[in-house]
Amino acid sequence: MATATKERGALTHPDVQHLSDVNRDVLKALGRPGKGWWALLSLCMAGMGLFFAAWGWQIYRGIGVSGLMSPVGWGVYITTFVFWVGIAHSGTLISAILFLFRAPWRQSVYRIAEAMTVFAVMTAGLFPLIHVGRIWHAYWLVPYPNSRFLWPNFKSPLVWDVFAVTTYFTVSATFFFLGCIPDIAAARDAAKGLRKKLYSLISLGWRGTDSQWHHFGKAYIFLAALATPLVLSVHSVVSWDFAMSIVPGWHATIFAPYFVAGAIYSGVGMVITLAVPMRKIFGLEAYLTTKHFDALAKLCLLTSMIVLYAYLSEFFIAWYSGEEIERTAFWNRLFGTYWWATWTMLVCNGIVPIMLWFKRVRYSIPALFVISIFINIGMWFERYVIVVTSLHHEYEPWAWGIYRPSIYEVSILIGSFAWFGFWFLLFTRLLPPVAIAELKEVLPPPLRKQAKEAH
């Protein structure tokens, strides 16, 4: 039996002695919400009010309430769409890929990450709808048999998007829920009254019998195996929305890997942003140790370097191509009307992460939190730069123009964070924020022999 314990390297705190301690500590988070939680929730609901008010007015009045114009037909909405899809990435990445690679530090963070993924996709999914001119016809992008046998154009990257994003949402949500089942069962066994009823329902009557665990394990592995290429594909497809066009600054082969790296970068950043406060509020220091944050920070550092490399190679290739229009596009990016956006992007995504080279920074929770905020800002501006600066300065000099986001676009951008936050807050109170069962998997199992020797 001793051999059984060797392979296990739990990254948890020493004072987690017994398996049941995990239930105690984690399920504590599901207790009565404090004032702070209610305050945040009402803040988010206010934000959602703003969000739907602005959107409703836009639908009623016309997409013209945005600042969009010719030549800039895509703006804050598409920027924010790509931003949230990007956020959605690290969740499944941390969960699936690290699961397959058996990364020992995964267990503590993946539940938060997956929840973030699901809610981020739910947020991102709204933006194509917000963006189109005739939302009441948006369902035409879905292939359904209609009287005239009009089918969508499968050559259009936008249709690829529809498939990629819906698939991603379905699979991530399934993966998330599957992982939750045993922990919901645990919560069920600890809960009383209404909550017990609710948990019994959504735990689908899980009892942790050998056969359940057996098939569960396999199913989980296969889902992880399917989700991994999916993670990489989704943001590649999103990047092709741009790369498939002929717009200077969009039409680049580097886009798919560049976007995937960026997505992971921003996603991990967001995980840190969310994990830091949760750790404090729910007292999960024992499970979210500085070792975990160190690992996340290293992942940020790696992806930030890939992203920076992509930026630089774009500029270099633009120059090296000798293509006047391409060169102008990138020169304009750095020194044109939107220089401030470009430099914000470069500083946040290229310069700030350099600090992560230092161990002291990686082990300082406050420092990481601040840096993660910079990462979020930087990655939003990256998409803004790609979308707007490329469009406003294209082939036809006569048609160059300046785009100014309207108050409605800004409201919807802010509101989207509220919408995301609303769901995330509900999650923190209704589902175990840390994977109970899997944590136990990495704890040393209780053995009678050792207990005897102890006495």
């Binding site: 059984a4 292939p143 499968f154 699979v171 359940q212 098939h215 569960f216 296969f222 889902l223 209780p446």
Partner: protein
Amino acid sequence: MSAMVKDGNVLLASYEYLDSTVDAIENLRKAGFKTVKAYAPYPEHHIEAALGYGQSPVRVFTLVGGLTGTATGFAFTTWTSMDWPLVVGGKPIVSIPAYVIIAFELTVLFGALATIIGLFILSRLPDLKPSVIYDPEFSSGRYGVYVEAPAERVDEARRILNAQEPAELREGTEAAHA
């Protein structure tokens, strides 16, 4: 579908320790008890080994689902293009490279859904009927061993289970259905 065990008993022991659980299971099976089941708060492969599990058939569902997705992806895109051929941007009516993406996404989608269906069928989920043969501790810190013993062998089963010093031992006549 819980049922009475023909003139016999069911026993459910819960253990604090993994090794005692595993030993109990192994001994029961050595003694030739047919229906031995285990409960655990987390996936424990020693228990699975003790119960002699092989490969799970879930993977078949995954494979079939995935392949169906791929086929659907290519067939559907090609058919709709031929159904009303329109030239866009001077590209071929049927542009396979573009359709690869659709096929890929459907592969993953169908594969994943099939896997879940497989899991539910094989592990008989969802199952919302409350069962007496369960202890909330199983989702927390304890392991459980369940055995169905014909009347003449109840004592033997009890002895084997007690040998590993269970934290608790329950007996009844109502058989578990899972």
